[in-house]
Symmetry: C2
Subunit: 330 residues, 2 copies
């Protein structure tokens, strides 16, 4: 989006993850300018605190010099123990208001204080604990734009660490993380399964639908504990010539996504026949999931691209940083 | 075992895997001398055929010069597509006789022919294919020593690629591979789960039994598809302080072994209440599995250490290489 200097911005919002940093100038809940840098928290220009300061100055230094009163908020891994300053987790059930009340601030080095959003913790006795950091803000954005999902919905954020999140009465009440994307990456790069896979650069054309659906089908019919056997199938389907080398990555992808869906769809309380299933994420990955959910006879109510800017607007409003302008929803 | 020069050997048996090479001088089914080298097929002293010849000459050159008529047999990855010469798979149901009839030979460079055992393929329509190479010879050894297991048994070979093998009427009728050991290694070394694990050298003492059993318990209660969520628990149990860093690897180990057992024990046709469950493998790993099987209320009939030498004796007998001496069992 190009700069629109006739509108005075009301918020500088930072979506600061592991591998990238995005900065949004916002007015009235809308993004009026966007910048992107590769300075994710694991790719800073300098080690430690100075790296965060320099990355912030590089992406937004001119903005904050031009509008020195502009409030600044940030979400994502920037608030982790490895981030600029740790913003401790808020426990479920978690609202935007709770996130705003438990914020953490850090001085930017340019004079501004940056309000960092906390992550969310699910931690109930007898169950596996779970954590998110960044997704809670994307969810806050989706719910601000679509209040009808606040009462009851399931929000799926596919990715390296896919999240299945249950929303009730505007609260994150429960969620589960699946290691799907990371399993695919690690097994492709470092396990015996990767040895038969051609390099990504050698694979032409799109998804091999038959191979992808064979992975989904094996997931759908799997019993407990079968994943590690079915993973070995990535090798044996190649060795026996049942799948061509170029198709094996799609089998592996279908198998891993399929296992996530089988578990996610059966998750206690999801009751997905009755509540909307909403996806937030990178469009081509979401399309892969939509196709997979259709294969599992599950409809998707909506697919949203990055809702982090609107979520940060919502968070800033709940923290009363927008008090003199259009308020966010608390 | 020290050399016993007063006994004339009848067989030179090679157990030649990916990462190591073992050579056994045998007489009357007994090992009379053993040597070990690091020249597994991925660690040869030279690339290609010359590497195999040199590794063979280094470990057994003096033996074959001293007993030039000594028959030589080999099993394991030496017969794979990346081996000295490919020994194509025998299909299930597979007997030692079938392995012997479909052997492959290679000239050693020292004058001897080496008889290489084929692997075994399970490949039925509508099911995932599966392969083994090396385990079939270990099984041939176990069945020669314990003929009572030939009629019906389940043989479990835990490891990097664990095998669950069903035996009926002396045949390998069906088997399934689980990627358990490799998943543990790859996730520990290359995934986010490994970041909270202390280096192995920093961990003192034995297994953290409570953490290991928490992994087993989660596996036992898991529904289909849940592994990748439960894997993320390795991280969240550490982040929340529910498990100490030194215990996380044991949780991960228990979880992965547990998932293998849940699936293996429910495998179609295993009917483990009625047939003996026999384990073959490295003793400390077998102990970990025995403990896990007990946790799942499954008794183990026997635990055997390396049965490859006896298996190679059985194979050589079936191939009539021991015709002038004590025969093996066909």
């Amino acid at each position: 989006m190009s700069s629109t200097p006739d509108i005075v911005p009301q918020l500088l919002a930072l979506d600061w993850g592991t591998s990238s940093l995005r900065a949004f100038l916002m007015h009235d809940g809308q993004v009026i300018d966007t910048r992107h840098s590769a300075h994710g928290i694991q790719h800073l220009p300098l080690p430690g605190r100075a790296g965060f300061e320099q990355a912030f100055a590089a992406i937004a230094g001119d903005w904050v010099r031009h509008w020195p009163q502009l409030p600044v908020v940030a979400s994502g891994m920037v608030g982790s123990a490895q981030g600029w300053r740790e913003a401790p987790y808020v426990r479920c059930p978690a609202t935007v208001k709770a996130l705003a009340e438990q914020n953490t601030t850090v001085a930017s080095g340019l004079g501004q204080e940056i309000l960092i959003a906390p992550g969310v913790l699910y931690d109930e006795p007898g169950e596996l604990p779970d954590v998110m950091r960044g997704e809670e803000i994307q969810i806050a954005g989706a719910l601000l734009q679509n209040p009808q999902w606040s009462e009851r919905s399931c929000i799926l954020l596919p990715g390296t660490h896919s999240k299945w999140v249950q929303i009730e009465d505007g609260k994150i009440v429960r969620f589960a993380t699946y290691l799907t994307g990371e399993l695919f990456a690690v097994l492709s790069a470092h396990s015996i399964l990767g040895r038969l896979l051609p390099a990504a650069s050698e694979v032409k054309g799109g998804t091999d639908v038959a191979a992808f659906e064979l992975g989904l089908a094996n997931a759908r019919r799997s019993g407990p504990g079968e994943l590690s056997h079915q993973l070995f199938g990535t090798r044996t389907l190649g060795l026996t010539g049942r799948l061509a080398p170029a198709a094996l990555a799609d089998y592996l992808s279908g198998l891993l996504i399929g296992h996530e869906l089988v578990s996610g769809l059966s998750g206690a309380g999801n009751e997905l026949a009755a509540v909307p299933l909403v996806m937030i994420g990178e469009p081509s990955l979401c399309q892969r999931y939509v196709r997979s959910l259709e294969y599992m006879d599950q409809a998707v109510s909506a697919v949203l691209d990055n809702t982090a800017p609107v979520g940060l607007w919502n968070f800033a409003g709940a923290a009363r940083l927008l008090a003199r302008s259009t308020p966010g929803t608390e």
